[in-house]
């Protein structure tokens, strides 16, 4: 039975371009207080355009209705559980949005004098110190713009370290359960990828790892807890094996929400890692970004951090550009500072104990879902669950229903689906991460929905195969979209 939702009227909305009328606009500019300049004579007639062909022309009220109507066609955390595994869709506190808009911070220009930037530099410096404490690492760079960008930065640093020792080496070892960004990053840093198979328990197989490590291996890229939500119990041993061969250990910190306050990567042999402020530290996903991907390193990698480096000298914050061994800049200016402000606000609200409690609750919620759903869906890996659990559609495929169909049916029950078909090592994966911000009541509704869908699959699989039924947009033809791509609006001739 569907308890969480019922249908309501939802407005149709054309594209802006279809709604435009000549001469409309929603802007007001003050009168020009200096003499006007003729564009063609100042810039050259050949350099000047006559108009922006096709650009929208709508009034202010049409504009706000347009975006408001469209917004109601989105699911969001503000509407309920968003159990995307590996994405950590937790509540985004609104105070974070407010403080990020404080004038002195929001309007700070990256080239304004340091003497007029001490407040924002203090925010960054404080966040660096706290992230180092949380990860157990020695230094942080806030420059990378997102997780994958952080991976790239970290691997560049490993390469620079090994080069300084005489040999950058050729390969990165990446477990088969890794995020796709890991192998893509390896390529961008000039490394070949060698996949490492997981064992029956869903963990890195220590024996195959030991066999794979040789003098050509630069590093292991490991996610811990891994994408099955399983803590790599042999992590200390794994790090020892890598270090014994002169290789480094990179940790993808996407799943750090399972560890904050409980265990620190710096204490289990990790040399360099990234964090996703938009996952663990609650900065909003915003429909796909912005993110922020700080990178944490141990002492031996500090010389290679991107430049400039934020430093404190003579009681003031300052940028140091004199970093001869630095891998260089990975981004203009200093990073996604607006996200740093939000993350620090999140940390301040929680405090040390609150952060640890969030971890405990995230793990509790994932284990609760696992326990209640296990009788109805196949759980291929039995190892203890941390912050997320991965089921498979094995039982349901016998009735011709796959993970993607179950996901679509969940929409009818008022939920955003889990992560579909990832990690790749689980056939028909259903990857569920509830996060700590969900109440028992919301989790129970979700569990009831999944149980109810399991029953529907037994009695009426067609119902699930054709889902969603209650959304304003029914199942979307993604195949045609890719075969005949239409990626911009054009006027009908």
């Amino acid at each position: 039975m569907i308890k969480k939702v019922r249908q309501h009227i939802n407005q149709n909305e054309p594209l802006l371009f279809e709604n435009s009328s000549p001469g409309k606009g929603g802007y007001q500019l003050p009168p020009l207080d200096v003499p006007a300049v003729d564009a063609a004579s100042a810039l050259g007639a050949a350099n000047t355009r006559s108009e922006i062909e096709g650009f929208p022309e709508v009034s202010e009220v049409e504009a706000i209705r347009h975006f408001t109507r469209l917004s109601t066609q989105n699911y969001a955390i503000d509407l309920g559980l968003y159990p995307l595994g590996s994405c950590t869709m937790k509540y985004n506190p609104r105070v974070n949005e407010q403080v990020a808009r404080i004038e002195g911070l929001a309007w700070a220009h990256p080239y304004q004098p340091e003497s007029l930037s001490q407040g924002i530099l203090e925010v960054m410096g404080t966040l660096e110190t706290i992230l180092a404490e949380i990860t157990g690492m020695d230094a942080i760079t806030l420059q990378p713009a997102a997780g994958a960008h952080g991976e790239f930065t970290g691997i560049l640093m490993i390469r620079a370290l090994l080069e300084s020792q005489g040999n950058p080496r050729k390969k990165l070892l990446i477990p088969d359960s890794a995020h796709g960004t890991n192998p893509a990053t390896a390529t961008m840093a000039g490394y070949q990828v060698e996949n490492i198979k997981s064992n029956q328990r869903g963990m890195v197989d220590v024996e195959s790892l030991a066999r794979a490590v040789d003098e050509d291996v630069a590093a292991l890229m490991i996610t811990n807890p891994n994408t099955l939500g399983v803590f790599e119990e042999n992590i200390t041993r794994i790090a020892e094996i890598m270090h014994a061969k002169g290789a480094q250990v990179y940790m993808d910190g996407a799943n750090m929400n399972a560890l904050v306050g409980v265990a620190r990567p710096g204490d289990f042999g990790i040399d360099v890692m990234h964090l996703n402020l938009h996952k663990t530290f609650s900065t909003p996903h915003g429909g796909g970004g912005p993110g922020s991907g700080p990178v944490a390193v141990k002492q031996h990698l500090i010389p290679f951090l991107p430049k400039p480096r934020l430093e404190r000298a003579d009681n003031r914050w300052t940028w140091n550009y004199d970093r001869p061994q630095s891998v260089g800049r990975v981004r203009a200016f200093y990073g996604n500072i607006g996200m740093h402000v939000r993350a620090l606000a999140y940390i301040m609200a929680h405090g040390g104990d609150g952060l640890r409690n969030a971890t405990l609750d995230a793990v509790l919620n994932a284990n609760y879902i696992r326990a209640l759903i296990q009788p109805y869906y196949d759980l291929p890996h039995q190892a203890p669950t941390m912050h997320e659990c991965v089921f498979s559609d094995e039982r349901q495929t016998k009735r011709g229903v796959h993970t993607g169909d179950i996901a679509k049916r969940l929409i009818d029950y008022g939920f955003h689906p889990y992560t579909v078909s990832f990690p790749l090592i689980v056939h028909g994966a259903m990857m569920i991460e509830p996060t700590e911000t969900e109440s028992k009541a919301e989790l129970d509704l979700f569990v009831d929905a999944l149980i109810s869908i399991a029953a529907e699959i037994d009695t009426n699989p067609e119902l699930v195969l054709k889902a969603p039924h209650h959304t304003r947009t029914s199942r979307v033809d993604e195949v045609t979209a890719a075969r005949k791509p239409i990626v911009r609006w054009k006027p009908t001739p």
Partner: protein, 425 residues
């Protein structure tokens, strides 16, 4: 909940962690604070910054007015707290706005395809260069010294281990425009792309057509970079370029000390399958209604892994939405009028100062500071609550005693006069 799991305490859920990895002390982080204390803390940090100062800094980050509608829209939880729109049936809001964004970027740049955004302009440049390598099968990149110096630094960082040698070509000292003779002498059959920026870092409008002709004559692509998007309200779009890589900060994105911003890559339809990042396409649902979805994902890392066009995953969707609302509010006439105001303000101020270059410029320009350094002038301006321009010798040692100044629609005439007054002293 614990009994459903079969555990007796929360700690039991972590009992499988090896003892040596456990943190056996509380985190050394202060106790949690109330909302009021948090707001108060950040307000105080804001006051330690440049509140109340007028600014004439540009150089890739511009002070433009942000229409109220922008934050009204992006503060809606349905946009703010949603994820990447993989489940199209419940993400039509985000998908439709991205489709509109892609369309408007095409209209603005004269290109045929635009992606759903990159991290920023600086990272869009190396991504465009990597794209040119894939398209041409060549590996050398030639970049103009008039491209933003920090964009060039990021290009070098990305290029270093991808077998993509990067060389620079110079500018004409008199005009401040790119040196076509130097470009001609360096381009060859191995050049994958020529990268230019317009308005360039000195604010000067480049001859895109001429640069494109040189690039194309040698079988290379032309990558056109823009950092000041408002200029496209007046300037001819770079139709002769093959790839456009740009920064949208000027479109209602707060400076926030350098980010988050939103970059874009746009190109010709024939190169669509080589474009990095997310793309939204139009299709239909099973009821025959128009619908949008992410498309051509086979270019991307989650499918192609080490063979992907880029490792980019997260982009700047919410920031791109700010730009979308901005473009909607200003629209066809507004963006043009806004650009006109920028042009007029900059030319009013420049008319009172000694210009270093002769090339045509939009809202930024380089002036000589005479027998004073730029820093000396800036110190005097600071006493009048004015942040002056950027001293250029940090990036261009040959440009001693010069300053890059920017005026926008937010620069009031009395402030423009105040700057001119300090120069005249």
């Amino acid at each position: 909940m614990l009994s459903a799991i079969g555990a007796s305490t929360l700690e039991d859920l972590f009992s499988h962690l090896p003892a040596e990895v456990r943190l056996n002390r509380p985190l050394a982080i202060a106790a949690g604070k109330s909302e009021y204390e948090i707001v108060d803390y950040f307000r105080a940090r804001g006051e330690l910054c440049a509140n109340g100062f007028a600014s004439f800094l540009g150089a890739g980050v511009y002070h433009h007015y942000r229409p109220v509608l922008v934050d009204t829209v992006v503060s809606r939880g349905e946009f703010l707290t949603s994820y990447t729109p993989y489940q199209a049936e419940i993400a039509q809001g985000t998908l439709t706005t991205i489709f509109e964004f892609q369309t408007m970027i095409c209209q603005l740049t004269g290109m045929e395809v635009a992606n759903a955004s990159m991290y920023d302009g600086s990272t869009a440049v190396p991504e465009a260069a990597m794209m040119a390598m894939r398209v041409t099968g060549r590996d050398r990149i030639l970049v103009s010294r008039t491209v933003h110096p920090e964009y060039r630094e990021v290009l070098l960082t990305y290029a270093q281990h991808q077998g993509m040698p990067v060389a620079e070509f110079g500018y004409v000292s008199e005009s401040g425009t790119l040196d076509t003779a130097d470009l001609e002498s360096k381009i060859n059959k191995e050049t994958a792309a020529v990268i230019i920026q317009s308005p360039n870092f000195f604010g000067i409008v480049e001859n895109v057509k001429q640069a494109a002709e040189i690039a194309h004559k040698h079988g290379a692509l032309l990558i056109f970079v823009f950092a000041e998007a408002v200029s496209l309200g007046l300037l001819e779009p770079p139709r002769d370029a093959d790839i456009v890589a740009g920064e949208l900060q000027s479109f209602a994105i707060s400076p926030v000390y350098g980010g988050p911003f939103a970059g874009i890559i746009a190109t010709k339809e024939k190169y669509m399958r080589q474009i990095p990042g997310r793309l939204v396409g139009e299709t239909k649902d099973t009821r025959g209604n128009r619908a949008f979805c992410l498309t051509l994902a086979t270019r991307e890392q989650h499918i192609r892994r080490e063979k992907a066009t880029s490792n980019i995953c997260t982009n700047q969707a919410l920031i791109a939405l700010m730009a979308t609302v901005f473009m909607t509010v200003y629209g066809k006439e507004g963006l043009r009028e806004l650009a006109q105001q920028n042009l007029a303000k900059a030319h009013y101020l420049s008319g009172k100062l000694q210009m270093r270059f002769s090339g045509p410029f939009f809202n930024e320009f380089v002036v000589s500071t005479g027998n004073r350094t730029a820093d000396q002038i800036n110190q005097t301006l600071l006493k009048r609550q004015i942040i002056g321009g950027l001293s250029l010798d940090r990036y261009y040692p040959e440009l001693k005693n010069t300053m890059l100044l920017c005026a926008t629609e937010m620069s009031r005439r009395e402030k423009l006069d105040a700057v001119a007054g300090v120069f005249a002293q």
